[in-house]
Symmetry: D2
Subunit: 158 residues, 4 copies
């Protein structure tokens, strides 16, 4: 699954929307997302927390045969943005060249809980998952992140 196939599918979907003929996601689009994830050769995880990185790496390694690396730059500054998890992913996209970027951070305002997001090489959002605020539900961070990664993958049938 190359960039080109995904771009072509997106173009078709955009054209359908412009004509008013779009009727929700198509199975081949979800398939294209799955293939983009499974065929990744290099993945950058936008965290510099070794524990979080290992949980994510372990689960992703079962799905694809990729070099998975941690970003070597502090992404906490993304917390001063409207969507910190997305902002972390975009920092990773700016400074590293990879097939996939995985970021985890706050969803929105302080108190809004967390988001884990998987982006492709152009920063397009492939899938994501949400957790409620740690102030609401006290689970270990590792277990929480494990759930989030699995949930994000499950949403696209992986």
């Amino acid at each position: 699954m190359g960039n080109r196939d995904l771009s072509n599918l997106i173009k078709r979907a955009y054209l359908q929307s412009l004509k008013g003929e779009r009727e929700g996601d198509r199975e081949e689009e979800v398939e294209a997302i799955r293939e983009t994830i499974k065929s990744a050769k290099k993945i950058v995880v936008a965290t510099n927390n070794e524990k979080k990185f290992k949980v994510i790496k372990n689960i992703i390694s079962e799905i694809c045969d990729a070099e998975i690396k941690m970003i070597d730059l502090d992404t906490k500054v993304a917390d001063l943005s409207r969507m910190p998890a997305i902002a972390k992913g975009l920092i990773a996209l700016d400074v590293e060249d990879a097939d996939l970027y995985i970021a985890r951070g706050r969803l929105g305002v302080p108190g809004s809980g967390s988001m884990l997001v998987i982006m492709d090489s152009k920063g397009r959002i492939l899938t994501a998952s949400l957790s409620e605020s740690s102030a609401i539900h006290k689970e270990s961070l590792e277990r929480r992140i494990e759930k989030e990664v699995k949930d994000a993958l499950r949403r696209v049938g992986l």
Copy 2:
């Protein structure tokens, strides 16, 4: 809960982040989100699908005593954006003045499933929820949206 209180809480959180002293969401921040939602007097739902609107309105009506209206403008064009659900919310924010905006649309690329998001009067993201692609799980749209609204509220303890 006015804008001012929320802005002050956000400022404190941002200052904590800048000092490297931030340790996750605080209970009072989640409480502030709850209060912002419960005290809303006017809510705009960024859909022009009567069915979706009714499901959302019914659930939200139980939580707050607000005028809830549907946007009278087609937001489908938001599908040609990187985050269609967020883009729909921002269209509503641009054209209507309200205390809360609720939008539902695609999360990211075609095939990435859907997102329901609740924004405040400035477009700050208070909470959200995700559903997998309709191509993956075939549930009625009404039931799906009902779950999404409840899930978004539950994430902040409502």
Copy 3:
């Protein structure tokens, strides 16, 4: 000029676009931007550089009778974003409640020069101006910012 009038004008423009009847900016829209700027009562400048603040304050004071304050929070972290000037403005919008926000920062990637942007109380972009990279043209920062503010205002006929 209240939020409501501007929102109504934007709604009309969006409806024109949806119908394919939009033909560029209208004089009354530019007039609405001017009125929004001139009638501002509180303005937050997203810088914590006293010199830059004074230049901006002096020029803006001639146009509107507003309380103009400097943000008391370091916005340099916005440099790790895709559009640092815009990101600074959004930080100000998140933490302060004002009628206008003025931010100045890098336009895009390092080397892309700077942008000065004026946003309204909802973060909508009213006008802006650009300067080339300081690596290209060596002018004093004060003179540069003075030009930028005047240029942003001139673009909307002020």
Copy 4:
């Protein structure tokens, strides 16, 4: 000039910002932007107006030896977004794979005038230029766009 060099330069700039050691754009960063533009092999222009396309193509052709194509999809829907010119560029990025994307559209709200923006293969903003609202200054569209392209290039020393 590959993606990799630019990504490395951006990483260094981000690290300087994190350490509080950043002091404005560096000459080598502007040089990297120039090289990215000059070495482009495929460029997509996010317009479907033949006239606008030709003006842009003619000027860009003098700087780089690239295949320059017009997007075959209507990007006018981007007018219902907070930054239409940027949104048009992102639509092009989503549906076509290229080294550079050039988009032109409204800067912000209706009445805010126009922006021309040049993005790289990942959607990073390399340079841009602004024009005042056509409601303010009545020049021919072709001449206006010609100025904008030249201005965007001049800002980075091209």
